[in-house]
């Protein structure tokens, strides 16, 4: 049996980020694993609870649907979480998925986003986390 897939949705205030030049206070993480131990839902420092073998899928949701936003990379230790790009069948839309190879105590990670017409690059200022234990 496949292990769980944990969805992490990342809400971005694109205008807030472009106007202030930073993702600070302009990004929120929520996952669907609160009942199994995730903490700090709805903040920039979400702690997603996982077990070995779990799959993670990240989705970006811009507050302003007309603004361009894209997740271009996830900076995470491959010893614990192996990341790859997934292309959704019959579309040209891609997403990021990860497989938990080894359950960490507390593993910080960062997201790299491109926002706005000029595809300006932003990195999350605080870390979100994957927690095991």
């Amino acid at each position: 049996m496949k292990n769980r897939t944990i969805s992490i949705i990342v809400i971005v205030d694109v205008v807030g980020a472009l106007a202030s030049g930073s993702l600070k206070d302009n990004i929120y993480f929520i996952d669907n694993n609160r009942k199994r131990g995730s903490e700090k839902e709805g903040t920039g420092e979400l702690k997603t609870k996982v077990e070995m073998g779990d799959h993670l899928i990240w989705n970006i949701l811009p507050l302003e649907p007309e603004a361009f936003s894209q997740l271009v990379d996830i900076v995470i230790d491959p010893e614990y979480v192996e990341k790859r790009i997934l292309t959704f069948k019959d579309s040209d839309i891609t997403g990021w998925v990860g497989e938990v190879r080894k359950s960490p105590d507390i593993l910080p990670y960062q997201l790299v986003l491109k926002l706005g017409n000029e595809h300006q690059e932003f990195i999350t200022p605080d870390s979100a986390f994957i927690i095991g234990g």
Partner: protein, 142 residues
Amino acid sequence: MQNQINIIVFVDTIGALSSQSLDKFTYAVDNSEFNSTGQGTASLSTICQPGQVIQWIICAIDLQTPAAINNIRFLPVNPESELFEEPDEQQYVNENPDLDVWKGIVPATMIPGVPYRYVFEVVIGEGKNSLLSIQTLSLIRN
């Protein structure tokens, strides 16, 4: 002669914020009964007469990304040269731009035939990149 001229400045707020420039993302129109030049561009020159009221309204093309007028200030007029460029002044940040109604009466002292350029400052969102301006709009008495 109409009592009031409305100048509506349309701004593509996401475009302007992304490229940090209003130049290519501003489309100004007015309803002056005279033939203003540059309708629909960032170089609108509104033709007016003393005694008329002029009102500026800003309109963000994306309603979920609103823009507000931070300030409108007129550049000194030199009848011999129209190419006066103002040096960067201390940036004035309006605390409550949504409360301002940008409306004023054209004074009788306005010199005919000379463009009165003004600095049109816009604020989009909040933060160090939120204040943008253009200097290519003007009023002119015919």
